[in-house]
């Protein structure tokens, strides 16, 4: 997550703490480095501890002391007597922007953990009102907001509803991205997700990514590729998969998750399905 700009109201729907951590550390570090003030609203005191873990060891104390970083409870910041008043919550944000600029910082970044909303704040309508009010209220101001939702706590329909008020969704930076193919790290299981097409043009980048896969092996030493969003893969790409699997140390596997049946058929034709260390898993997301 490298590209955020003032005025953005972003949404992070995360399925794994490590993904959250990678995105947020980049967001927080990026703001601190650019002399922006950073406001982190945690859902509960337990999650606050994790926030400090994001930051360089020891460095956060300096930022806290200078006031450039503030870590505070989201319910305390946004709730009034346990209830969310969307107008009041937006005014809170505006006050923070004003204080930030008065203190001479170049801008403000706000990271909101929204986990508190599922436990203590059943009024999802009011929450949506708050989310809808953020963008118009902060328009033109040097402030970037990230709202974090936990994928496991939200039904699919709700994810879409809560995404709508945001200017964009953030996630991990791809380790490779071009017009045809994007490759992202995954965390559960650890590995890579490949989107798009692997053909004569992208096979080289695909091979480079696979070469780094072993470093992301799981506890059993197995490497994982999520291929659900793989649109196309040519002979060279399939060969890279077979090659990667065949040179793994004994007892370790390359597991291809959610490979489309016609791609699997090509591997069978090539007889590379006979490589014992190449395994297939059709789990659902």
């Amino acid at each position: 997550m490298s590209q955020s700009a003032p005025g953005d109201h972003l949404c992070l729907v995360s399925g794994h703490p490590l993904e959250r951590r990678a995105v947020l550390s980049s967001f927080v570090d990026g703001g601190l480095e650019r002399d922006e003030r950073v406001l982190y609203h945690f859902a509960d005191p337990g999650s606050a501890a994790a926030v400090f873990d994001f930051l360089d060891r020891g460095a956060w104390r300096r930022y806290l002391d200078s006031g450039q970083l503030r870590v505070a409870s989201a319910p305390d910041a946004y709730l009034d007597g346990g209830r969310l008043d969307p107008d009041r919550a937006v005014r809170t944000l505006l006050r923070e922007v004003e204080a930030t600029l008065t203190a001479g910082w170049r801008g403000l970044r706000v990271a909101n953990e929204m986990g508190w909303t599922s436990g203590r704040m059943p009024e999802s309508t009011r929450l949506l009102e708050f989310e809808n009010a953020i963008r118009p209220a902060l328009s033109g101001l040097p402030v970037t907001v990230i709202c974090q939702y936990d994928r496991r706590q939200l039904a699919r329909a709700s994810v879409d509803r809560f995404l709508r008020p945001h200017t964009g969704q953030v996630g991990m930076d791809p380790i490779h991205s071009d017009n045809a193919m994007r490759i992202f790290p995954t965390f559960d299981p650890p590995g890579l997700r490949v989107e798009g097409s692997v053909d004569a043009h992208s096979a080289g980048a695909f091979a480079d990514a696979l070469a780094a896969l072993e470093e992301r092996a799981d506890g059993n030493g197995d490497s994982h590729l999520d291929l659900a969003e793989l649109q196309f893969i040519d002979l060279d790409g399939l060969r890279h998969l077979a090659w990667t699997a065949s040179r793994l140390p004994a007892g370790r596997s390359l597991v291809l998750h959610r490979l489309a049946p016609h791609h699997r058929e090509l591997i069978t034709l090539l007889r590379w399905d006979e490589i014992p260390s190449l395994r297939f898993q059709n789990d659902r997301s």
Partner: protein, 322 residues
């Protein structure tokens, strides 16, 4: 054919006109193999299997056999089946194979593909110790097929007498003779596109036309894969302008890829199955696996790969061409 010190393969044609003539060649060949403890495979018609089996008696139990139509549905599968059988029998003096192709009832296109394979076997088995006899039944095979049997086999065998075939052509020469006859022109209504290095655009074109021609299920993405591999092959191997034409005809969808460059000089490209190490012909091997039939032409003006893919109304079992 020159037989170097490392190549021990033999490829004999046997033109027979009666059951007796068939047995006069095949029985001594099988017996000699069994006596030497060599593997023996017989792939022929059910009639000839029955005939040979009844003469061999108890010894028949040591003969591997297949009804010929099922031992490799298409020429490229036949080659793979031969090589598989050879690979499964390491260490033998010879791996003996009697292989009689089916000719009756085949289209001219099909016959050409099988004849090209017969010629190609001289190279495709060159690194093996396969000793192959290909019986041709004079009673049923077209005279033109018998003429080509002498062009595609370096030796002919009658009884146990092996003679050099005077009409034999090296595989490259045989292919260039066959290449002189041009492929029929694509129909006027064929969808046409230029193939550029933007393979995504090639795939998009193939997918949209293929869908319009009624391909669905896994047939559509597999057809797109075949077109992508053939286009990639020409882009990599044949510098020149490449055009793509796509149309439907009875039997399936046809995709024609023509290049003004030269990329098909090896007539056997695409017959050797891919290994983990990359080889130039691998893409065409995969193309052949995905198609019911592949025509190739290499002339002074360039080269053409024509793919015939199972259409939406193909009722052969799933994976029919494979």
């Amino acid at each position: 054919m020159t037989v170097g010190p490392t190549t021990r393969s033999r490829h004999h044609g046997c033109l027979y006109a009666s059951d007796e003539e068939f047995l006069a060649t095949t029985v001594p060949f099988v017996n000699a193999g069994l006596e030497a403890g060599e593997p023996v495979l017989v792939a022929t018609t059910s009639a000839n299997l029955h005939l040979l089996g009844s003469v061999l008696g108890d010894r028949a139990s040591r003969v591997d056999h297949a009804e010929t139509g099922y031992f490799g549905r298409r020429p490229h599968q036949r080659v793979a089946a031969f090589r598989d059988y050879w690979r499964r029998h390491p260490g033998a003096g010879y791996v003996r194979i009697i292989a009689e192709p089916v000719w009756a009832g085949r289209s001219a296109r099909d016959i050409e593909a099988w004849q090209r394979m017969e010629s190609g076997l001289n190279l495709l088995l060159a690194d093996t110790n396969v000793w192959m006899i290909c019986p041709y039944d004079r009673r049923t095979a077209d005279p033109a097929i018998l003429v080509d049997a002498a062009r595609t086999h370096p030796h002919l065998v009658t009884g146990e007498q092996v003679t050099v075939s005077d009409d034999y052509l090296e595989p490259a020469a045989y292919a260039s003779v066959r290449d002189r006859r041009p492929l029929p022109d694509p129909p006027d209504g064929a969808a046409t596109a230029a193939v550029t290095p933007d393979l995504g655009a090639v795939r998009q074109f193939a997918a949209s036309r293929g869908g319009a021609l009624g391909l669905s299920g896994s047939r559509l993405p597999l057809m797109v894969a075949a077109v992508n591999e053939a286009a990639s092959y020409l882009l990599e191997q044949a510098a020149g302008e490449i055009s793509l034409r796509l149309w439907a005809e009875f039997g399936g969808v046809v995709c024609d890829l023509s290049s003004t460059g030269h990329g098909l000089d090896d007539p056997l490209v695409g017959y050797r199955s891919p290994e983990l190490r990359r080889a130039a012909g691998d893409r065409l091997w995969l193309v052949r696996q995905l198609c019911t039939h592949v025509d190739t032409r290499s002339t002074a003006g360039g080269c053409t790969i024509r793919l015939y893919l199972p259409g939406g109304r193909d009722e052969e079992p799933a994976g029919g061409p494979r």
